[in-house]
Amino acid sequence: MGFTLYNLIEAALLCINAVAILSERFLSKLSGNANINYPNVGGYGVDYQNSGGAKQQLLTLIRSVRTVMRIPLIAFNVVTIMFLILFG
């Protein structure tokens, strides 16, 4: 119960780090994609019959989080590390 706002920020940061670390090959293997080199099958070009599935939605979510958060994550991680070093 000893929740502070800092604990929430730390938990969110760790979760987003976990999402960012996933490798691209693992994700494309999960999405059942026949050929990695052709972007029209799985990946960014989704055929619209299959895009309603829960797995596709989840993979789209993970891909978009990675694309958006890649650069800001570096900044957040550096700031958090400095905080922890300075203030324990």
């Binding site: 929740f3 502070t4 706002l5 939605q57 979510l61």
Partner: protein
């Protein structure tokens, strides 16, 4: 008309002290009346500056005439200046808030006006909603009224969600938790802040989980995120009643019984409220495939089952056997 009422009221007070206090209270009492008369069905933007400008000019004229009538009492001669000062300060504050609101980007302005919708409540709505949360088992009509494809504000329709009850009951929960801790001699002032932060954090976590679940299962429903926040806030009413029952009777059995009853009634209430918004229309055409229906039912059950879990978890640490 609201502008005529206070003027007639001051003429009925013969006592000069009462007249002075009623003159002091004039600038603040008409504001809920003018807001109540201004906020109709689709009118959520605040037209208050015009109504206040139109209201205050006959009043300052009235203060001029009353000053001549009570000139024997020296203290009252300062009144017109004090009231002009009040007017200037109030006008200045309104200008400042208008300027800050206009500085925000367009998206936030829209969400500000949509949040104002949730606070358009009055006392009968609050009482009816509270009775409904605590005893939803009477047969009634649960559909939400619409006014030209926009939901009607909660003042008009008892079934509409609002933010007033969740906000007030969350604050009351923090205070009641402090009370329970104090009775057990475990209270320090930091506990209040910790409870308030944990209420906020658990709310954020719950809304995030629900939004992600909605997105992953690709469910398109009429339920907006703001509505979901309101429906998730109704569990604090249950928490307060469970904690109060423990406070009053100081028996674990009554507390568990109240917890069980609150879970059942809150689940019933939420199922009835959300059923019409998450599940598809029965009478309309069916563009979705039938798989969507099972998913929606599971999602509804998930939302509803999450609430008693939170109630139990958030009150557990306050009860010692």
């Amino acid at each position: 008309m609201s502008s005529d009422g206070p003027i007639y009221r001051t003429t009925n007070y013969p006592h000069p002290q009462q007249q002075q206090s009623s003159q002091f209270y004039q600038p603040t009492t008409p504001s809920p009346q003018s807001q109540a008369s201004n906020a109709h069905g689709g009118d959520y933007t605040v037209p208050n500056p015009q109504s206040h400008n139109g209201f205050f000019s006959p009043q300052t004229a009235f203060y001029g005439s009353s000053n001549q009538a009570t000139s024997s009492i020296e203290f009252l001669s300062n009144n017109p200046f004090l009231n002009v000062g009040f007017n200037v300060v109030e006008q200045g504050m309104k200008d400042m808030t208008d300027k800050t609101i206009n500085m925000l980007p367009n998206q936030m302005k829209k969400s500000l006006s949509s949040i104002k919708y949730y606070f358009a409540v009055d006392q009968t709505y609050v009482i009816k909603k509270l009775c409904l949360i605590l005893f939803p088992f009477r047969p009634r009509n649960w559909s939400i009224g619409y006014n030209a494809d926009e939901p009607v504000p909660p003042r008009v329709d008892t079934n509409a969600p609002d933010y007033y009850i969740p906000l007030m009951s969350a604050i009351t929960y923090v205070l009641v938790a402090g009370l329970v801790l104090g009775i057990q001699n475990r209270f320090t002032p930091e506990q209040l802040g910790m409870h308030a932060t944990s209420v906020l954090i658990w709310n954020i976590i719950e809304i995030l989980i629900l939004c992600i679940t909605f997105y992953i299962f690709n469910i398109q429903s009429k339920l907006r995120i703001l509505d979901l926040i309101a429906y998730c806030g109704y569990k604090y009413v249950g928490m307060i009643t469970a904690l109060s029952s423990y406070l009053i009777t100081d028996s674990l059995f009554i507390y568990r019984l109240t917890l069980l009853y609150i879970s059942i009634s809150l689940s019933y209430f939420l199922v009835k409220c959300l059923r019409l918004q998450i599940l598809p229309d029965i009478g309309g055409s069916q563009p979705y495939n039938t798989n969507g229906n099972t998913r929606r039912i599971y999602l509804l059950l998930f939302v509803v089952l999450l609430q008693p879990l939170f109630i139990w978890y958030l009150t557990q640490h306050l009860i010692i056997p």
